[in-house]
C-alpha cells in the first residue's frame, strides 16, 4: 500500500472507532440522566416511575424521625404546596436539618414512600439550590406546575 492509502485506512479505522464509541457513550449518557422534580411535580405525575430521579425541597419541621440506634431516618420533603415522605438509610450530610433545603436521589416504592440512596444538602448556610428557590417561589404564588 502507498503511504497515502495506509493513512486513509488508518483514518477510516479511527472514524469507525469514534462512531462506535460515540454510540456507546451516548447510551451511557441517556441512562444516567437524572431529572429534578419537586413534590408538586411528582403529585402531578410528571416524575418517572421506572427510573431514579432527584427529589428536591425543604425538610418539613418536626418531620425527622429515627428509631434510636438505627441508621434509617424518615422525613418529609415539601415545597409548601405538596409533600412527600422520604426514607434513607445511612450517614446524613453535615448540613441536613429541619427547614433546610435538601435533594434526595432515589425512586418511590409502591406505597408512595420515596426511598433515597443518596442525600445531598447544600454547601453553606446562606445557600439554597436554585431549583428549590424557584420551586418555592412558584409554590408561594400558587401556580403549581
Amino acid at each position: 500500500m502507498t503511504p497515502r492509502r495506509q493513512r486513509m485506512v488508518l483514518v477510516a479505522l479511527v472514524a469507525a472507532g469514534v462512531i462506535l464509541s460515540a454510540g456507546l457513550a451516548l447510551r451511557a449518557f441517556q441512562e444516567n440522566l437524572l431529572y429534578f422534580f419537586t413534590p408538586s411535580q411528582v403529585m402531578a405525575g410528571e416524575a418517572p416511575d421506572n427510573r431514579a430521579y432527584h427529589l428536591g425541597g425543604m425538610v418539613l419541621p418536626d418531620s425527622i424521625q429515627r428509631d434510636p440506634g438505627s441508621l434509617t431516618v424518615n422525613f418529609i420533603v415539601t415545597d409548601y404546596a405538596h409533600s412527600m415522605p422520604v426514607s434513607y438509610s445511612g450517614v446524613l450530610p453535615d448540613l441536613f436539618g429541619e427547614d433546610q433545603g435538601v435533594v434526595a436521589r432515589g425512586r418511590p416504592d409502591a406505597n408512595g414512600l420515596f426511598v433515597a440512596d443518596e442525600i445531598l444538602a447544600k454547601h453553606d448556610e446562606n445557600y439554597m439550590p436554585p431549583e428549590i428557590a424557584e420551586a418555592l417561589a412558584q409554590a408561594e404564588q400558587g401556580e403549581t406546575p
Binding site: R7, S70, H123, E125
Partner: protein
C-alpha cells in the same frame, strides 16, 4: 487609606496593560521596533502594580480591616493567621485578583525569557497576553472590586467558610491557577503565529516548555484538589465528576493533547494548524472553567458569586478572546502547510490517535458538564448527569489510549515495521498479562474482568515506560550516550499514568465502605481490620468546638492505630463540619467519619477501607515530575541562531 492604594494600583496596572495590548501589536504590524520594545517594560510594570494590589489586600486581611467588605465577609479575628492569608483567595474577588497576579507573573516570565525570540514575534506574544490581562482587569474593576468598603464597618468578620480552613486550600487554588492561566502562553504563541502566518519548528520548540510548565502545575493542582476533597469533603471519594472538577480537567486533557501534537509539529513539521487550534482550545477551556466556576450557575462549594452581571461579563470576555482567536484561525489556518508524510505504523500515527482519543475524552466530559446547563436554559427540564455516565464514557477512549501509549513510546518517526515493534514489546506485554491476571488474585483473592484489564494496562504502561532505561542498564556497553532529559520526562510521565491506572483500578475494585450505627464498645470488621468504638468526648479548637470519637483499629489482635474523627461546629457561622480520621499508608487507607448522634450514646458512622489510593496521587505527582525533568532539557534553552528551517528528524525513538 491603604486599601485605596490597592484599588489605585489595579487601575494603573490596567493602564499599562492597555499600552501592552496595543502599541507592541501595532509596532509589529508596522515594523516599528521602538513601539515593539515597549512590551517588556509594560509587562514588568503591570506585574509590579498587580503584586502591590495583592499585597495590599493580604495586608487588609492580616490587620483585620473589616471596613473592606471582602475582608469582612471572609475573615474573622479568631481565624488563624495562615488562613487569613489564604482567605485572600478564599472567595470570588480575591481569587480573581490571584488569577490576574498569576497572569502578570507568566507574562513577566515570557518577557524575561523572550530575549532570544525575534523582536516582532515577542511583541505579538506579549501584546496578546496584554489583551487577556485587560479583559480580566476590567472584569475585576467593573464587577468585582476586592477593595470596596462598607460603612459602618462590622466589629468582627463573617469568617472564612470552614470547608476552606485547611492546608489544602492554601496551595490548591494557586497551583490550579498557575496551570489554567499558564495555558494563556501557548495561546498567545498561537495567536502570534496566526498573525504572522508562519510557523517553523522553532515556534514549536519555543511553545513546548511553556505548555509543559502550565500542564505540570495543572496536574499538581488537580491532584491536590482531589486529595483535599478526599479528606475534607468527600467521605472518602477522590473524584466526583463534579462540574467544577470537570472544569479543571478539560483544560488538562486538551493541554495533554497539545503537548503531544507540539512534539510532532516540532520534529516533523506537520499537524501545524491542528496544534494551533489545540492551543486555542486549551485556553478557551480554561476560560470556560473560570466562567463555570465564577458565574454561580453551578451548585458547588466553588461557586462564590451568584451575580448574573459577572457571569455575563465572563461570557462576553470568553467570546471576545476565544472568538477572536478562532476567527483569526479560520482566516489564516490554510496558510500553514505540512511538510512531509508518514506511514500507518509510525510515531506520528500513534500521536495522531493519542490526540483523537484525548479530544474524544474531552468531548465526553464537556457533554456531561454542559448538557444540564443547556437543557435547563432551553427549558427541557433540570437534569443532572450521574457519575456512572462519566465512568463508562470516559473509559471508552481512555482504555485504548492507555494501551496504545505503551506502543507509541517505542515507535520510530515516519515509519516502522510492525514486526520490529512487536518484537521489542512482547516481553513487557507478556509480563503485564501475567501480572494483570495473577496479582489481583494473589493480593486480593479475586478479580472481575474490568479489574484484570485495568491491572494489565497499568502494569503494561509501567513496564513499557521502563523498557528503555532497563535495556540500557542491562547492556550498558551498547548504550553510547545517556537518554536525553526530555525523554526521561516522557518516560516518567507515562510511568505516572501507569501508577495512576493501577491505583484507580484497585481503589474502585476493592474499596469497602459501610455505614453503621454503633454504641461505645461496639466492634466492626472492615477489610480485615477490626474497628472498636471507644466513645466520644468534647474538644475545643481555636475557632470551633467538636465532638471527637475514639476508635481503636486492630489487625489480628495487634493495635494498628487509634483514629479520632471529629464533628465540628465553627462558632462564627455555626456550621457543622465532619473531619474524617484517616490512617494513611502505601498499601491502604483506613477512614472513620462520625455521622449523627442517634440517641442513647449511639452514633452513625462511616467506616472505609481503600487499598492503594495513594497510587492515584503518586501517579499524578510522577507525571508532574516528568514534566519538570523534560523542562530541564538543554534543548529548550533559547539560542538566536536556532530558529532556522526545520531540521531533518532523526529516526530514533526519541520524542524529544
Amino acid at each position: 487609606m491603604i486599601p485605596e492604594f490597592g484599588h489605585f494600583a489595579l487601575i494603573l496596572a490596567l493602564g499599562l496593560a492597555l499600552i501592552q495590548a496595543s502599541v507592541p501589536l501595532l509596532g509589529a504590524a508596522r515594523q516599528r521596533t521602538d513601539w515593539m520594545v515597549l512590551a517588556r517594560p509594560m509587562a514588568v510594570g503591570q506585574f509590579v502594580f498587580v503584586a502591590a494590589a495583592f499585597v495590599v489586600l493580604a495586608h487588609a486581611f492580616y490587620v483585620d480591616d473589616f471596613s473592606v467588605r471582602y475582608v469582612a465577609l471572609n475573615s474573622n479575628t479568631a481565624l488563624p493567621t495562615a488562613y487569613k492569608i489564604a482567605a485572600v483567595w478564599g472567595s470570588h474577588e480575591g481569587s480573581l485578583l490571584l488569577w490576574i497576579l498569576i497572569l502578570a507573573g507568566w507574562t513577566l516570565g515570557v518577557a524575561a525569557a523572550s530575549r532570544g525570540l525575534p523582536e516582532a514575534f515577542a511583541a505579538r506574544v506579549l501584546g496578546v497576553l496584554g489583551l487577556v490581562s485587560v479583559g480580566m482587569l476590567l472584569f475585576t474593576l467593573l464587577t468585582s472590586n476586592p477593595f470596596d468598603r462598607i460603612f459602618p464597618p462590622p466589629v468582627d468578620g463573617n469568617d472564612l467558610n470552614p470547608l476552606l480552613q485547611d492546608p489544602g486550600l492554601v496551595m490548591h487554588p494557586p497551583l490550579l491557577y498557575m496551570g489554567y492561566v499558564g495555558l494563556s502562553v501557548p495561546f498567545a504563541f498561537s495567536v502570534a503565529a496566526l498573525m504572522t502566518g508562519r510557523l517553523s519548528s522553532a515556534w514549536a520548540r519555543w511553545t513546548r516548555p511553556w505548555t509543559v510548565g502550565a500542564w505540570m502545575f495543572l496536574t499538581v493542582g488537580i491532584a491536590l484538589g482531589s486529595w483535599w476533597a478526599y479528606y475534607e469533603l468527600g467521605w472518602g471519594g477522590w473524584w466526583f465528576w463534579d462540574p467544577v472538577e470537570n472544569a479543571s480537567f478539560m483544560p488538562w486533557l486538551a493541554a495533554t493533547a497539545l503537548i503531544h501534537s507540539l512534539a510532532v509539529t516540532e520534529r516533523r513539521g506537520i499537524f501545524k494548524s491542528w496544534t494551533l487550534l489545540l492551543a486555542i482550545a486549551a485556553f478557551t477551556l480554561s476560560l470556560l472553567g473560570t466562567f463555570l466556576v465564577r458565574s454561580g450557575i453551578l451548585v458547588s462549594v466553588h461557586a462564590f458569586a451568584s451575580d448574573p452581571a459577572r457571569g455575563l461579563f465572563i461570557l462576553l470576555l470568553l467570546s471576545a478572546i476565544s472568538g477572536g482567536a478562532l476567527l483569526l484561525y479560520a482566516v489564516r489556518a490554510r496558510r500553514f502547510r505540512d511538510e512531509g508524510g508518514f506511514r500507518a505504523i509510525s510515531r506520528e500515527s500513534f500521536l495522531l490517535i493519542n490526540n483523537v482519543l484525548l479530544i474524544a475524552a474531552t468531548a465526553v466530559v464537556l457533554l456531561g458538564t454542559l448538557y444540564p446547563l443547556f437543557s435547563d436554559a432551553l427549558g427541557f427540564g433540570k437534569p443532572s448527569v450521574g457519575p456512572p455516565y462519566f465512568n463508562i464514557a470516559f473509559l471508552i477512549p481512555m482504555l485504548p489510549l492507555a494501551a496504545l501509549v505503551g506502543m507509541g513510546m517505542h515507535a520510530y518517526w515516519q515509519k516502522m515495521s510492525a514486526s520490529v515493534l512487536m518484537r521489542r514489546l512482547r516481553v513487557p506485554a507478556g509480563i503485564a498479562l501475567v501480572f494483570g491476571v495473577s496479582l489481583p488474585w494473589l493480593l486480593f483473592g479475586g478479580a472481575g474482568v474490568m479489574t484484570m484489564i485495568g491491572v494489565i494496562v497499568g502494569c503494561w504502561l509501567v513496564l513499557s515506560s521502563l523498557l528503555d532505561p532497563i535495556t540500557r542498564a542491562v547492556r550498558n556497553r551498547s548504550a553510547p550516550r545517556p537518554l536525553p532529559r526530555a525523554q526521561w520526562g516522557m518516560i516518567l510521565a507515562h510511568l505516572g499514568v501507569g501508577v495512576f491506572i493501577l491505583g484507580v483500578t484497585v481503589v474502585s475494585s476493592y474499596s469497602i465502605e459501610t455505614d453503621a450505627a454503633a454504641v461505645p464498645g461496639d466492634r466492626r470488621e472492615v477489610g480485615g481490620y477490626e474497628f472498636i468504638f471507644r466513645g466520644t468526648r468534647d474538644v475545643q479548637g481555636p475557632n470551633y468546638q467538636a465532638v471527637e470519637g475514639e476508635f481503636e483499629v486492630r489487625r489480628d489482635g495487634r493495635l494498628v492505630t487509634v483514629l479520632a474523627p471529629q464533628k465540628r461546629i465553627y462558632r462564627v457561622q455555626q456550621s457543622p463540619m465532619t473531619e474524617t480520621a484517616i490512617d494513611a499508608g502505601w498499601r491502604r487507607d483506613l477512614l472513620v467519619a462520625l455521622g449523627d448522634p442517634l440517641g442513647d450514646g449511639a452514633w452513625s458512622l462511616r467506616v472505609q477501607y481503600r487499598p492503594l489510593i495513594r497510587f492515584i496521587w503518586l501517579g499524578a505527582l510522577i507525571m508532574a515530575v516528568g514534566g519538570l525533568v523534560a523542562l530541564s532539557d538543554p534543548r529548550y534553552r533559547l539560542e538566536r541562531q536556532r530558529h532556522a528551517a526545520p531540521r531533518q528528524a532523526p529516526r530514533t525513538a526519541e520524542v524529544g
